[in-house]
């Protein structure tokens, strides 16, 4: 939990979140590759690194859009054409729905944070049709959304809402280990997919933690 955090987030937070996601994904590239090697095709770290690097490049190239929603949309479009793997349409749809949930909003309070996370999760589910327990990134996002919603309802700050989401996502990711994959490439392995963490759930935890860190840095 971040103490003394600002009461609302702005476009700067979105930009910082995307940059921090790029940094952590690049740092954890090999770890995500290794996770994906066990139950997939060993490219999740490479895919996300390529995608977020492209996003950062877009942010660096001249002025980024003014509103949080517009920046999220730019990132979504970039991910969808550069990630290459399943994570491309999934994170792309997540950010696009988050952008839509914000509309032209310029100031993001606790309820907007919970709302954009919910929209993102709903986008992932709409796109990939996975249910909880299918050993996918949904198993990180659904507890994250629930924790964020509870925190927002209880009057938490934006930083607290984000922290609740990230913690729940990381716990959800850890809990994918014993599961048998029922969606995505890992489902080809059937029962052999048990005993491994889901790479997308782990990267979701990293990205939500990046949102926390970006909010902390904004203070």
């Amino acid at each position: 939990m971040v103490e003394g955090s600002t009461s609302t987030l702005t476009t700067d937070w979105v930009v910082a979140w995307l940059r921090e996601s790029a940094r952590v994904v690049s740092e954890q590239r090999q770890y995500l590759i290794d996770l994906d090697r066990a139950i997939g095709d060993a490219d999740h770290g490479e895919n996300l690194d390529r995608g977020f690097t492209a996003v950062v490049k877009k942010l660096d190239d001249g002025d980024h859009p003014a509103t949080p929603g517009a920046v999220l949309k730019l990132a979504a479009m970039t991910l969808m054409s550069s990630v290459g793997g399943a994570a491309g349409p999934l994170y792309g749809t997540a950010l696009l729905r988050a952008a839509t949930s914000l509309g032209d909003t310029e100031l993001i309070g606790p309820n907007e944070v919970a709302g954009l996370l919910t929209a993102a999760r709903d986008g992932i589910v709409a796109r990939g049709k996975a249910e909880s327990g299918d050993k996918t990134m949904v198993d990180a996002w659904t507890p994250a959304v629930e924790a964020a919603g509870t925190a927002a309802m209880a009057g938490a700050s934006v930083a607290e809402v984000l922290a609740a989401a990230a913690n729940a996502a990381n716990a959800g990711a850890a809990a994918t280990e014993p599961l048998i994959a029922r969606k995505g490439r890992a489902s080809y392995l059937g029962e052999r997919s048990a005993g491994h963490l889901d790479p997308g759930a782990v990267s979701s935890g990293l990205i939500l933690q990046a949102a926390v860190d970006a909010a902390g840095a904004q203070e």
Partner: protein, 132 residues
């Protein structure tokens, strides 16, 4: 004016090869490959790209519509996303077939060559699984 096909594959070789194969029996059908993607330096990678699918869909549509065929699950997701981005007047004549890629593409191309509409071409693609 024939219905066009877009071949969405993780591999540019597969996408191009399927177009080559289908073209043999469907000389007048717009067959467009949307396979793989490239990294920053243009190195070909295995994967799919929304941009490629959108471009291919507009190239393949000569007014009679387009049927998209895909390989693995993430290609399906990319194609479904593309459907959401296509503007509404074109959207009504674009279909995503749930078909075996190679087998479905050949059957769909033959159907399209005969002048069939998008729904008939989609059905031909989807029936090719069963006929294997």
């Amino acid at each position: 004016m024939n219905v066009g096909l877009v071949i969405v594959s993780h591999s540019s070789k597969i996408a191009e090869g399927v177009c080559d194969l289908a073209r043999e029996m469907a000389a007048d059908v717009p067959l467009v490959a949307a396979g793989g993607l490239e990294d920053d330096s243009g190195v070909p990678l295995i994967g799919t790209s929304l941009e490629k699918v959108l471009e291919a869909t507009s190239t393949a549509d000569q007014g009679a519509g387009v049927v998209l065929l895909t390989d693995l699950g993430s290609a399906v997701m990319t194609a479904e996303m593309a459907l959401e981005f296509i503007d509404s007047d074109q959207r009504s004549r674009v279909r995503l077939a749930r078909a075996a890629l190679v087998e479905g593409a050949v059957a769909a191309a033959v159907e399209a060559q005969s002048g069939a509409d998008v729904d008939a071409v989609t059905r031909a693609a989807e029936a090719a699984i069963v006929a294997l």
